[in-house]
Symmetry: D2
Subunit: 434 residues, 4 copies
């Protein structure tokens, strides 16, 4: 289907710290940016609780979404200038819209909340595209079937694989933007790589986006940036600590809500989230401002666990942690029992974390097609038009492929454990350094 572009009379420009400028040339894109659903992304942080570790990481999904759009625009523009016949030119608008909107269904602190309430931001994205929203209205103006088309790209059921390869692969516009952007705002300069060089070596090729072989070292550099950002930023143990507290707050509030407890302060969208009646309209008013406001109010709730957790989160009195190389269920069970016996609450006063429960991975070459959420590997195209998977050529990439090395972290409220230390066994005291 050919989705017609409607050029703006005058190009619009956003100043962006990462890409310098973001260029909007099409009426549909401009209108999408100005919808209430897209503007809401200003109230959702890109990196969740990471700002508690890296104070600069206060950037929103709004700016990231513009960045993904801009990189996609640049890739397509390079394909058009190169005149590659493998790029279907009439897929430009659907690609740009999918790039811009792919994160529109994210809620506040998504990764923590999704797990607890079993919601998925991709599903919300599709509902926001397809139900009665300003976004839906703008897309329908292009063509009545256009909302479904854009949703199909995002949900990976679109007929032309090359469009999905552009929007979602292991080196897609999404990952490229967030690496650069997260590096910029955290101030961690490990995450930078040469975007301009990467863009120059991408090629459309038989339904996929591949990389010219001469660009192998540029891809290595990009993947090393991912690797470094994992360890320096995304898996930072202090950030994990804040996520754990956040999850505990929601767990506790949901428990209380389902019990006879009467909240001194409550607000509609949270209530709907807790009782499972939330719809698109409610979801759209659920943002990080609301979550933080609830936490500020809940500091005064009668329930001491909830009030304490909220204070911890807001005032950054995070859990401390100790590290263990191996799992040890027996020991962990012993700790839980002792905590219980001294009057602590094992479900809140101990959290054992293994960082690889996370939705990040550096690079996975051999993804079975059937696996859900699996993204296609990075392919090199040599001068004889042969393709090869990149880790077969690069020692470095092979070395980080599927790397699942990690350690266990035991998070705990230090001052509480210290207060009961006299009643704990020496074994347990040793674990926590008490």
């Amino acid at each position: 289907m050919y989705a017609k572009m409607h050029p703006l009379a005058e190009e619009k420009v956003f100043k962006d710290p990462v890409h310098k400028y973001i260029y909007v040339q099409d009426e549909t894109i401009w209108s999408l940016i100005n919808t209430r659903e897209f503007q809401r992304l200003r109230r959702i942080r890109q990196l969740g609780t990471s700002y508690l570790t890296f104070h600069g990481a206060e950037h929103s999904r709004f700016s990231h979404s513009l960045g993904v759009y801009e990189i996609t625009r640049k890739i397509i523009s390079q394909f058009e200038r190169g005149g590659y016949s493998d790029w279907p030119q009439d897929e430009k608008l659907v690609s740009l819209c999918a790039a811009l909107l792919h994160d529109v269904g994210h809620g506040p602190f998504s990764h923590s909340i999704e797990e607890l309430f079993d919601t998925h931001h991709e599903e919300w994205t599709c509902r926001i595209l397809l139900e009665e929203t300003e976004i839906n209205e703008v897309l329908r103006r292009v063509d009545p079937s256009f909302p479904e088309q854009v949703a199909a790209v995002i949900c990976k059921s679109y007929e032309r694989p090359i469009v999905m390869s552009l929007v979602s692969s292991q080196m897609d516009a999404d990952r490229m933007d967030y690496l650069l952007r997260d590096a910029y705002f955290t101030g961690v300069n490990y995450g930078t790589f040469d975007l301009e060089r990467i863009l120059r070596v991408l090629r459309p090729h038989k339904g996929q986006i591949v990389v010219k072989e001469s660009g192998m070292h540029a891809v290595e550099d990009y993947l090393m940036s991912r690797y470094q950002m994992y360890w320096q930023v995304y898996f930072h143990p202090v950030t994990r600590s804040s996520e754990i507290i956040l999850r505990q707050i929601f767990r506790r509030a949901k428990e209380l809500y389902g019990s006879s407890y009467g909240f001194a302060w409550m607000i509609g969208p949270l209530e709907q989230l807790f009782n499972g009646t939330i719809n698109v309209d409610g979801y759209l008013s659920l943002d990080e401002a609301l979550v933080q406001t609830a936490f500020v109010q809940w500091q005064k709730e009668a329930d001491p666990i909830l009030a304490d957790l909220c204070r911890r989160f807001l005032n950054r009195k995070l859990y401390k942690y100790v590290t263990m190389d191996e799992a040890n269920e027996t020991l962990w069970q012993q700790i839980r029992e002792e905590l219980q016996s001294v009057g602590l609450h094992p479900a809140y006063d101990l959290e054992i974390d293994f960082p690889f429960d996370l939705p990040y991975d550096v690079y996975r070459p051999g993804a079975a097609i059937s696996e859900k959420d699996e993204k296609p590997p990075i392919l090199l195209l040599d001068q004889e038009e042969r393709l090869s998977e990149i880790s077969a050529k690069s020692d470095i990439i092979r070395s980080i492929t599927g790397l699942h090395r990690g350690k266990y972290h035991l998070y705990f409220p230090e001052e509480k454990l210290r207060g009961t230390a006299a009643d704990l066994s020496q074994t347990v005291r040793d674990v926590f350094g008490l």
Copy 2:
């Protein structure tokens, strides 16, 4: 009074995108950062509504406050290495604390709210330092009189002028940090200047901080950065439009609160703000998360003016504007009357703005001492130890000194005026281009 430093066993480090690292070496500073009052600054944006113009400008007063502390630390450290006798070494801790805490009394979107509710962030800062807060407790641990000392520096009644000159002058750590930081996060690279060079030419001299004459061009560069940031960022007409809407929201809500109107949604701290009973505790829960949450809820209020204004602010449907070189009260009165006559609300549907109502100014050489809030000028120290005010030596600085050139902007809801255009006079239609 000699405030004793308490070195930390191990230096603490924050990763900062502007200064690379922020170094904390003293126990008092570390404890202050970890108070709830200081952590609250994470929920107050440094640039108010500017993020609606520059989407990267989502940085908080928390990161700015750390930056001001770091620059102050660097200046003092350079003075100590230089061994200048004009720098009183026992003023280090009070200077660092004042630098860190000077903005702790800022509320959400301060500039707009202060005007409307006649509050002043400096007063709140002093109350937060002096009343029962975690900050007060930390400061008292240094010495019972230490909270008063730090407050005196911030409120400019401290006995030693050089400390105030360090923390508050026309080239102080505050301005240096916000120029660099605002430039970084907006992506506008006009605001950068060579901080390292400026620091190298500062000298303590008879109760003031002055500049070695050889650093004149570096100061010119710094002032040109200020000048450019004014025009590109701080006075940006789109930002002004969003501030106007914000102020109208508060004005309307306060009006309604004082009337018989019953709010469908209200929250304690706002109520206290409206009825003038807010105290330190209430003020500390008044942050931008709360304000945005209120706006999200108020979109559904029965009052159409309030609901419309909130939608405009959140969804960035801002007022358009036209520009006029000169004031023209007669014309403006005519416009107001016509708007009234066609059923519009002149107090909300028209706002005339002159940018120099703002708390910024590029540089003012001849500040009369008596003027409140007036900051000392920048002085050059030549090799013969003579001082001269910098605009006497620099043509460029003289050219921007006290520059008050500006234009009037008339802000209005375009679609509303367009809807009534048929009933407006040609004169008024011409003004708004209808």
Copy 3:
């Protein structure tokens, strides 16, 4: 005349630290870069002796020339995308060639040598384009009259003024590149400005390149960069000291050559330069490598003045200087006489310098058309298509316009004067601080 482009089968790319990449898309440009005359620019430094002050300033006219080409390419490309009818599309190749080649006639340390030997690099550029060279051969392949066309643009006698306005004005590609490049290589970050923004506001308009009015602050920023680079880099008194010694070396060598002195070491191209017989072929072998080699050899010449000057230059034993606000011919005459009387050489042991003998100026608004070498002013284009000269609108630009404030510097070999101080009058000793 329409000069046909010959697109390369594959775009060529140069990695450039200033522009990231330089893109060559045309066969003619590629061939010109590969001529021996253009490659020779690698052996001519962009900033002459400035590397003795700023050790990073070792960049060549080769890289600057590529940069001027790239900026010109970007401007034209923006004009083409904008579809402006005032830009004559068939002038692209001649513009690009003129941009690339405009400095090809520069000799070693041009500014010093041109003055002494009364040669002009622009004339040499034209001779290199028009006589028997590889460049001439490449240009003739486009069209037999093409060398003359390109030369006409460079020498400002081309029929279409807009092409000359592009290549040579007060905000041309030449100046934009050298400001950015000199800032990058010296490490002085005053010289940066937002090139991308400037390019976006340039417009072809009735035979000139003008600036959209909304770009005024960007132009201010560019001119302030110029201003700062003058004072920090181009007029740096240490650089002036090295230029003075360089000029004295050539003056002395020429004197000796014209006398009965027999050089122990001499080389063809210098001999031709001294006796005025140098032709294009000789000129092309006159580069900075040759000049430095001569100086290394001349350190062992029998003439003590020449040998000493060469040692000073190579080993950076530069002249010291004192500063005077006003000219004082009487005093200077007295100094010269006293130096003579104590056995020093006033023509070598004293040099009085006023920095505005230099071929730089920040901005000159009112250039009379008749003046040679005068470049057109910067014009703003408002929304009603009216033009105004920029200093009429900008206070800042007016403040630096035609600014000729400067000081006199007296350069001298300190240890020599110190050695004779006992025989000098107190007046003279005071001048030099002896």
Copy 4:
């Protein structure tokens, strides 16, 4: 031995594009920089012929040497502030001098010339320190034995290993500076890493410089920069082509010099190099200006091979190359014979290159102590004060350790081979794509 520092009355500062500023605080360092031997490094490029591939790479060993000094100064300053007892404070001056002077014996295009004339820059460095030079004089002013001490550090025979570990290891100030500097001047941003973070994790520990374990990822990042710089810059095949031509020029000139050939142009220092009589004085006048001047002159030599090679080098008419995965001596022998039979010169018209003949290696963990020129591995220090070699902990570093993957390149003058293609076998024509 305690080498006394002599603080300068006022700190001297160099503006440096890589480190922003270079600070000189000691009289001895200042005097060393001002010697003729050190100033000569301005005429030796840091990256040899790489400027023919990356036109920005025109930076000299002078700026690199200052950079190595500055990094060393920063490391020592951090050690001093940390108060680590394992750092011998009286070794400061000898360390700084060794850092500054370690490259002072480099000749023009060292790597090519050293091989051909069997000279070693380290030996020249020591001779320059120990024979009659200005450097020797400055060092002797500290103490008569001081020149020997500094030379001992550079030649790795100093009594205290920690000083040599500082100046020469696999993560020393030398490597750190050249990676950052070469990345800056080539414009290749792969080479950047977080210097400030690396400096913070270095520790003196029992006679070695080691790395805190928490800094492992920072070291990975540094080694990946090395890896990328190898492939993108140091082993670039175009640079190799220019080095081959350079070596051929010297080989040919030496051959001719040893024969009955009479050079039309010759110069003392080259003559001494060819006949093996060169001494320190001659060596010091052998710089890249002299080499380039010789090449310019030799373009007109009667010997066609020499003249052609010089033209190729100066005008960048480099050899083309083809790539082979494996060595094939039989084929290569056949090619040589055929070239001979058609009148070409196999010793000049074919050069087979394998990049690992080069003095670079990314990282080598297990260096046998006995091996000459072997640098100690990088050691991690954990919280229990245990040391481990870094590749035992890091998968990534292990993946690049001792990596010797490379390809053979056959370099040849394309137009010559093409001219004789009709007389070559199909096999040979296929190899060269003729």
